[in-house]
C-alpha cells in the first residue's frame, strides 16, 4: 500500500456521484445551415441569448470569439446567468466594411462555464460553440442619413450668422 495512490474515499465519493455539472444554454437566431444574410457596409447586432433553466445555481459564463473577428465583436465576454432565467443577452456586433468581397464567412463563439473547484480528481466544466455563416451579398447598404448631425450643423451656422449680424449691428450703432 506504500506506493498506492489513494484519491477519493467514503462520503466524498457519494457526493461526487450525485452532483450535476452546472450547465447552461445559448440560443441564436442563426446557425449552421441558416446564415445571416447581410449587405456590404451594413452593421447588425445578433443577440445571443444565454439561459440557465436547468440548474439550481447561478452560472458564470465566459465568451470568446473563435472565428470571424474581422467582422464580429463581442461587447462583453463575462456573463452571470442567474438560475431559472433565459434572458441574459450576449450582443454580437457584425460590421461589414463596404470594400469587402461578397462571400460566406464563418462566425464562431465559444461559451464556457467557469467551473468551481469542487475538490474532485477531474472536475468537469461545460462549454458550447455557437457558429453560423455570414453571407455577404454584392449589394451595398444604404447610407443612413444622420438628421441630428445635419440639424446640428445647420443650427450652428444659423447661430454664427446671427452673432455676426448682431455684432455688426452693434458696431454700426456705436458709429
Amino acid at each position: 500500500m506504500k506506493n498506492k495512490i489513494k484519491f477519493i474515499f467514503g462520503i466524498f465519493l457519494l457526493v461526487a456521484l450525485m452532483g450535476n455539472i452546472t450547465a447552461f444554454g445559448v440560443s441564436s437566431p442563426y446557425w449552421t445551415g441558416n446564415p445571416l444574410n447581410i449587405d456590404r457596409g451594413e452593421t447588425m447586432i445578433v443577440e445571443l441569448n444565454l439561459q440557465n433553466m436547468v440548474g439550481d445555481d447561478d452560472v458564470n459564463v465566459e465568451a470568446k470569439l473563435v472565428s470571424g473577428s474581422e467582422y464580429a465583436k463581442l461587447k462583453e465576454t463575462q456573463f452571470l446567468v442567474k438560475q431559472k432565467t433565459s434572458n441574459t443577452f450576449a450582443p454580437l456586433t457584425i460590421k461589414i466594411p463596404r470594400n469587402v468581397e461578397p462571400g460566406i464567412h464563418k462566425i464562431k463563439v465559444e461559451f464556457k462555464s467557469i467551473a468551481d473547484d469542487t475538490g474532485g480528481m477531474i472536475n468537469v466544466g461545460t462549454g458550447m460553440d455557437v457558429s453560423f455563416d455570414v453571407n455577404i451579398s454584392e449589394n451595398f447598404a444604404k447610407r443612413e442619413i444622420n438628421y441630428i448631425l445635419i440639424g446640428g450643423i445647420v443650427l450652428t451656422i444659423l447661430i454664427i450668422i446671427l452673432i455676426i449680424f448682431l455684432t455688426k449691428r452693434k458696431k454700426k450703432k456705436r458709429k
Binding site: 484519491f7 444554454g25 440560443s27 477531474i122 466544466g125 458550447m128
Partner: protein, 302 residues
Amino acid sequence: MQRNMIALTILTLIILPIASASLVGDLWSEFTGQATSEEVGLKINVTGGNAPTVEILEGTITDVSAGLNEAPSLTTVSLAVKITDQEGLGNINDSTIWAVFTKSGEETRSISCIRDNPKDTEYSKTFNCNVEMFWWDSPGTWRINASAADINNNYAENTSITFNVGATAGFTAYPEEIIWAAINPGATDETAINWLVLNNTGNIDRALQVNATNLLGETDNTKILLANDFSIDINAGCAGTGMSHLAYTPIAGANLPRGDFRLNDLSTGQEELFFCLNRVGQDITEQTYSTNQEGSWTVKIA
C-alpha cells in the same frame, strides 16, 4: 277524312311509346356507341350556409426566432385567430377552433384555442391559442394550420402563415467529478469508477469535444498524471480517444442528439462518456492528484 285522322291518331299512339322507350334508343346506341341513359348518384348536403373564414392575426405570434427555452422548460408560442361567419357569430362552433404547428420530420404541436369574448363582433370571434413547443423541436420554418367549423360542420382552415424557430445549444452532464478508486504506479488501463451522462437540452444534434488538463499532485505538484495519458470512449473500457493537453479533442463516435432525454434510455437526447487512465508513471507518489491547479476539463458540444 275523319277516318284518316282517327287512323293516324291510333297509329301514333301505338308507335310513340315503342319508339321512345327502346327502339330509337337501341338504334342510337347501335350507330353511335353512346349510351342513351346512365345512372347518376346525387348526394345533397343540406347545410346552414357558408363556411367560416379563418384569419391568423400575424402580429400576435410569439417571436421564437431567437430560439426556444432549453430543457426542461417548454416554450409557449401564442397567436390569435379571428373566425368570421356570414351567418353571424352565433353560427361559429367554439369547440372546433384549433391551432396546429407542423414541420417536415417533426412531431406536430397543437392546441384547442380559447375564445377571447371582449373581441367579439357581430360576425366574428377571436380566439387565443397557446401552443407549447418542446426544447427538441428543430429550428427552421414551422407552418401554422388554424382551423374552424360552424355549427353545421362547414369546415375552414388557414395554412398561409409560417414562423421561424431559432437554434438553442445546451446540455447538462452528471456527475461533477470523475474519480478513480486507487491506482498503483506503473498501472495501465485503469477505468474510472464513474462516468458522464449527458442530456441534450437544446434542439440541434451535437458532436462532443473534451479539453483536458494535467492532474498535478496536491502535495507535490512535480508529480503529474498527464492529460495525454487519459482516454475517453462512448463505451466502457480503455479503447477510446486519447486526450491532448489544453486542446479540444473530438471524441470518436460521440453524438448528443436532440430529443426527450427524460426517456432515460441512454439514447434519446443522451450520450455517455467513459474515462480511462491508460498509463501511470512509475515515479508517481502517494498523494491526491487533481485538476485544481491546471483547471477543470471542459466537455463541449460543437
